[in-house]
Structure formats: C-alpha cells, structure tokens
C-alpha cells in the first residue's frame, strides 16, 4: 500500500491505496464520486476523463499513486452549487446527450478543449473529440453544445 494525498474538487483527501489501483477506481469506489465512468478496457472511449493539474487525462489509464500530490477535478466539481457550468448548461440546452453514459467524459474533454482553443470551429471540435466515443448522439449535438459553450466562456 502507498499513501496518496491529493485535492479533489477542492477537498483534501489522504488515503492508503494499492499500487495497482487505477485512478478511476479510486475516484469511483473509494471516494464515491461515481460521475466519472468506465466505458472500455482499451483506453479509447474517454468516459473516464478527469482533469489532473488542469490537464485532461484518461483516469482508467493512470494509477492512483501517479496522481499523488495533484489537484483533480471531476464532473462533480464543475457546477457552482445549483448553477451549472456553462458547458453543462450548453449540453442541456442543445440536447448534447441521450443515454448520458459518455457525457461526464465529453464535458470534461470539452472544458479542456475550450481552455486550449480561443476560437473553435466544427472541424477543430471534431478532431479534438478523437478520444471520446458516443454510441447515441452521432456527435452532432455534442459538437453544437461545445461550440455554443465556447461562445459563453
């Protein structure tokens, strides 16, 4: 076991974990933040995307011990109390989800895309979504939601 100390959605956490525990399982099973999903075992779907020190990563492909001393934001950490984050709001407004399984990862990826790109066009958004799969929407409204959100942020 190794001690992991980190900050998640503004709260400090300090806990012993097995070295082999993936960050996503630490978040879901130990911290009970089940918004972050697991959609594959090949590191391809992006349902597990969280921000570690401000960077979008696939939490199914890094170890909890690698995230020691970092600051993590998950989907639960985006809204400000009752007020949704602009990207969450845009997904609701533009029907950017159907079953919702991919949505936490999509939204965390979208926030990262908007942070890195001052101007967003459809082509860029589609390229940037390479690491996030959606089995329902056909991406159309996801792309629309992200462009709409980028104009408000």
């Amino acid at each position: 076991m190794s001690l992991v100390e980190l900050e998640i959605n503004g709260s400090k956490v300090s806990q012993d974990v097995e070295e082999r525990q993936l960050l996503v399982h630490f978040i879901r099973d130990d911290l009970n933040l089940t918004g972050t999903h697991v959609g594959c075992d090949t590191s391809q779907c992006g349902a597990c995307v969280v921000h570690v020190d401000g960077k979008a990563v696939k939490s199914c492909s890094i170890l909890a011990v690698q995230a020691n001393n970092s600051k993590i934001t998950t989907i639960e950490g985006l809204a400000d109390g009752e007020n949704l984050h602009p990207v969450q709001e845009a997904f609701r407004e533009n029907h950017g989800l159907q079953c919702g399984f991919c949505t936490p990862g999509m939204i965390m990826a979208a926030v990262d895309i908007i942070n890195r790109n001052s101007i967003l066009d459809e082509k860029t958004v589609r390229e940037e979504l390479e690491g996030n799969l959606c089995r329902c929407t056909g991406y159309q409204n996801i792309v629309k939601s992200i462009i709409a959100a980028s104009k408000k942020m």
Binding site: S2, E18, E19, R20, L22, D41, T42, S43, Q44, G46, V49, K55, A56, V57, K58, S61, I62, L63, V65, Q66, N68, A109, D112, I113, R116, E128, E130, G131, N132
Partner: protein
C-alpha cells in the same frame, strides 16, 4: 492487474540504481502503453519506476543545428512547442496526430520510441530525420536503435535520456490513421537535406519501422513526383490483419509517400 511495487524517482541516477537493483522492474513514463498492457495482464513487472517527475528529462532545446527533446517530454509539449514548430514543423505535426488529446497529455517521446510499436509514429521521424538517441550508457543512431517490432537496442538497465533531431525543414510525415485507434495503418516520413534523402515507413512491415532504400535512391537521383510514383513497395513482409491485407497496406504506403512528397514541395 497483478500486484507490483511503485517507486517515484527524482533523478536519472536513482532510476538506474532501482533498475539495476531489481531486474524485474520496468520504467513507467506516460503509461499510455504500459498500463493498458498491464490491465490486460500481458505484462507483470515486479516494480514500476516512475520517471515522469525527473526534471532533467523534460526539456526541448536547440543545440548546434539540432533540436534535442528530453525523453519524458509529452506529445502535447512537442506538438505545441514554438521552437519545434519553427525548426521542424513536420515533427510537431506528427506529435499532434498521435492518438487523442488525453493520450498526448500523458504519453512521452521516450516511451514511444522505447516501446517501438510497429504502428507508432515517432520511430518514423527518428529514422526519417536521422535522429540520435542518447541513453544512460551511450549514443545510438536511429538506424542502430530500432531493431524489430517491439524491439530496440536498449539493454535491460538502460534508459533513454534524449533524442536529437537534425533541423531539416524539408521534411514531411503522412499517415493513414486507423480510424479507431489513430495508430498508423501506413505512415511515411520523407526528409531532404541538400542531396541526402531519407524515407522511413511505419505501420506496414511485419518487422516494424524501416528505411525504404529503394525510394531514397530514386529520389536522390531525381527529386520529382515521377521518381516517387515509379517505386512500389512489395507486399512481401507487409502486415496483414483484420484492418487490411498486405497488398492494401503496401499500396497505402505508396500513396502516403506521394502525399508526403507533394506536401514538402508545396
């Protein structure tokens, strides 16, 4: 995943000591290949030595007409570095085409070349630009470094420190990405430094990345589109799987070569 010990190190010396003391351990860089492999139980190291925090391995700098990149520099940094964009734009474009943004935030250049996946992108740039690879033991040319698929000249207790790319602006990389994984189905890197032409192919051969000597010769004799078009890659020894037959992949390599050549001359 099987059990293992985890050790985060801060210096190259510490990493080498750990690796020598425990031969069953493995270096962990970005983990974008190693962790998925361990999840599938296809690898079971006793210990992981995490080198991602070693400051002296994370850098991009220019030195006597070369761009030198530290081994733990991630793909995002290479794709967005102003220096690399200006000096070797083909290299920043190649890095931008690896996987997806989340993978690029973690995956490193040292991990990518040490792994030498037959469909990875960086090995083509190393061979195609004539890069030199500095390790904890020696300096190797790219031709000496890449041996066969998933095989390099690295010894068990040897770590990649940096990769040095000669500044060659006349260069381009074109790949046909597998639509699901973004790994190359065939990728061709061409560079031209005065009369010296190098052509490297990834994604295609059963033996991993290779230099396409026939194409190099044809282009050295006459730098023209017809010189590219007349050389055809033989399907013999070219990978064949669910994604494409050897004939299909060999033809893709021919087409990628034409497109890379045209992009250099644009």
């Amino acid at each position: 995943m099987y059990q293992f010990n985890y050790k985060k190190v801060e210096t190259i010396r510490e990493a080498v000591n750990e690796l020598t003391a425990n031969p069953e351990s493995k270096i962990l860089a970005g983990g974008m290949t190693l962790i998925p492999t361990m999840k599938q139980r296809l690898a079971s190291p006793e210990q992981l030595i995490d080198i991602r925090n070693i400051e002296e391995l994370n850098f991009v700098r220019e030195e006597s007409n070369n761009i030198i990149i530290g081994s733990t520099t991630n793909h995002f940094t290479v794709s967005s570095s102003k220096l690399i964009k200006e000096k070797i734009p083909s290299l920043s474009m190649l890095a931008e085409g690896i996987g997806d943004p989340h993978v690029r935030n973690m995956g490193t250049i040292g991990g990518a070349i040490s792994n030498n996946d037959p469909t990875a992108d960086y090995p083509a740039a190393c061979l195609g630009l004539g890069a030199k690879i500095k390790t904890t033991k020696r300096e190797l040319t790219a031709d000496e470094f890449f041996i066969s698929l998933f095989e390099t000249a690295l010894e068990e207790d040897e770590i990649v420190i940096s990769i040095s790319f000669p500044i060659i602006k006349s260069s381009f990389y074109m790949k046909f990405p597998n639509p699901a994984s973004r790994y190359a189905m065939a990728g061709v890197f061409i560079s031209k430094n005065d009369s010296d032409v190098r052509v490297a192919v990834t994604g295609a051969s059963e033996n991993g990345v290779f230099r396409w000597f026939e194409m190099e010769e044809s282009l050295s004799n006459d730098w023209s589109k017809s010189s590219v078009e007349k050389v055809k890659l033989s399907p013999e020894g070219i990978m064949s799987d669910i994604h494409g037959s050897s004939e299909y992949r060999a033809n893709l390599a021919n087409i990628m070569a034409i497109r890379a050549f045209e992009s250099i001359n644009e």
